[in-house]
Symmetry: C2
Subunit: 401 residues, 2 copies
């Protein structure tokens, strides 16, 4: 057995990971609908005006503004309607003085017209339209290119494709986009005792939890989980598994990084690449390793489910977002009084799960091996390494899962 | 033309929608991985203990606690190692007094042993193990069922399946779950001027935006967008389109609800079902209709892209979450000083898009027809109907897109 003797602070672990990883470079072409939530890999420059023509921005009558000068309820101007124009239709008329064209919002302005009187400010008797208000030139008219002008830089490579940005791309008539590929993450559980749900447990065996929790976190933070078969604790099996997983962009193994599993995985990583740290002064999550193999980041997660999932949130998710080129993300949080005293004389930075009950944060942490430490919690609080006790009633910052 | 004469307040519109819709009842069976983010449709009761056996919770030596009584660095107790036990292995020995078994975290406790001395508190010379600390019975032992006891209600129907809850299900060995079906939402754009991206624009035509923005919002809030072909403004086409879309759970049409498009869609809804409101006193988004057809909610969204997307966020997303049985959701927000005065004498509740610049919220709204009012914004502020002016420097609550 080789105990973890030297742990590093959490911030140092994060910094080491951050220096080692690189944003993904591979690009794929997807449809507009598929592009939602993806990261753009090209600049989008408009090749035409949006809208491509001046249009009515309200329902009413296209007029020559000069014809409405002095119009009021008591002294309306009477114009002759020569046409009714719906969206998608182009007028063949050129408006002369004294004439108007009934026009729908979005329809192209007819030649000769320079303003729209809204329908609420008019009255119609057959083709005789009474106009009750004067309008200025361009009033109620959306000018050509008002939304996007030709030659404008609409989006840039690296922009996250939100609903409104997809809308801007659609407005330009572009049906496909080049986006960065989602990093593929090999997820694998090690340990002789691990069995997949649906199978039968033999004596001494337990069901695998980590593949499922880690995969869910990966999917939430821009990655594509690629599940690999469970691996037993032998150098040969682990070595073969690492080789297979190197096809993906990132490797996440759980188990095998505590001393009990004989550190075999660390030996494998050291032989094929470089171990950059092993052991973080956090609780839960201390026996976590990180290394690089052939340019691919390797996360050696603890086997304990709560330790593994906590570090998936704290270390893996931010790293994956950077690889996927997604913006950094912080959990929604709420400040609440602590419902019960917590003693925390660990000398480690602690992630302590809590449940929200009657407006207080109630401790929910059981043990690192207990997934219910998290599944019955609403979120967690952080207790720094130099704090031994957090008293009942202390305001704590609860970060939601 | 039939102008919208009577608008209702936003809260009333929300209440009408909320009374009309029902949470989905259909259920489907999915794998654990597919279940992420879904809503559970069954209770999960544990049929066995997790872990199914008492196990070492630290690496070290399984002992009889009584054998370690009085042990210290200066006066170690010497025990004889009779076996080395890894995870997944079951000891065939029953520990006698004076004996110990080297044990890995997670390995089942051997018969006769009642505690674990951690490896750091020992020293080994061949099979002679010096124990430097006394341990209490059950110390460093995870008892059988410590995480989940047989018969325990682990999850209930209606629970959202988060990573840690999926972990709890995996721990029980359950490979499939019954979850509520994601509501399918028919998304359709109406208007003679609407053309899909990738096609060529004729005079008077513009590219469709709303199908893409609305679909993205639907996917973000638990729905499955089902895109239907664009429809021209004729009673026959709209009627046929509504009939086709009734195959889905929710209908979202954009365009056709302002006066210009001749209110045809309202006539179609009234003929097939019931229009529950038409016109909301918000800006943008006034010409929005809502009705029910054959038990299916129908959202008639404005054709203007910013109006449509705003109401997709404000009205559709919360309704869809309730139908999908997802928990209510509120946007992350930040309080910032307004960077420029906004005049808002509209008498309508206003959603005003802003961009964050140098720690201030800068107005970004152009016009309801301009998608760049949103695609170049970071979020929005709300200005209530009775407020005419918001002065520069006023602290405003920016809600992020």
């Amino acid at each position: 057995m080789r105990p973890i003797r030297n742990t590093i602070p959490l911030d140092q672990a994060k910094a080491i990971i951050d220096r080692a990883i690189r944003p993904i470079e591979r690009v794929e072409r997807v449809t507009l609908l598929e592009a939602h939530g993806r990261v753009l890999a090209q600049d989008i420059v408009s090749t035409s005006d949006v809208p491509p023509f001046a249009r009515a921005s309200m329902d009413g009558y296209a007029v020559r503004a000069a014809d409405t000068s002095g119009a009021s309820r008591t002294d309306p101007k009477i114009l002759r309607r020569i046409e009714q124009l719906f969206t998608g239709q182009v007028s063949t008329h050129t408006l002369a003085s004294g004439q108007c064209i009934e026009i729908a919002t979005g329809a192209p302005m007819p030649a000769g017209a320079d303003a729209v009187v809204i329908v609420e400010d008019t009255d119609a008797t057959d083709d005789q339209i009474s106009v009750f208000t004067a309008v200025r030139p361009r009033q109620n008219v959306g000018r050509q290119g008002a939304d996007i002008q030709a030659g404008h830089h609409v989006l840039r490579a690296g922009d996250l494709l939100t609903p409104s940005r997809l809308g801007a791309v659609a407005a330009l008539g572009i049906p496909h986009l080049d986006v960065y590929v989602r990093p593929r993450v090999a997820v694998l559980s090690t340990g002789n005792e691990i069995v997949d749900p649906g199978e039968t447990l033999a004596a001494g065996q337990i069901y695998d939890i980590n593949k499922y929790t880690v995969s869910a976190v990966i999917a939430d933070h821009g990655g594509v989980p690629a599940l690999y078969r469970n691996v037993t604790d032998t150098i040969e099996d682990l070595s073969r598994a690492v080789d297979e997983c190197l096809e993906e962009d990132v490797l996440v193994f759980s188990g095998g990084s505590s001393v009990g599993e004989r550190d075999l995985i660390l030996d494998v990583i050291a032989a094929k690449g470089e171990v950059l740290f092993h052991g973080i002064s956090v609780k839960p999550g201390k026996p976590t390793a990180f290394g690089m193999i052939g340019g691919k980041p390797f996360f050696g997660m603890p086997g304990y489910p709560t330790s593994c999932l906590t570090n998936a949130y704290v270390l893996l998710a931010p790293a994956l977002r950077r690889i996927a080129r997604l913006p950094a993300w912080s959990r929604p949080s709420i400040s609440l009084p602590l419902g019960e005293r917590i003693a925390s004389a660990t000398g480690r930075h602690q992630f302590y799960t809590v449940r929200i009950e009657n407006g207080t944060a109630m401790p929910a942490f059981k043990a690192s091996g207990d997934i219910t430490s998290m599944s019955r919690a609403d979120g967690y609080i952080e207790i720094s390494a130099d704090v031994d006790v957090v008293e009942q009633g202390t305001l704590v910052d609860v970060k939601f899962f």
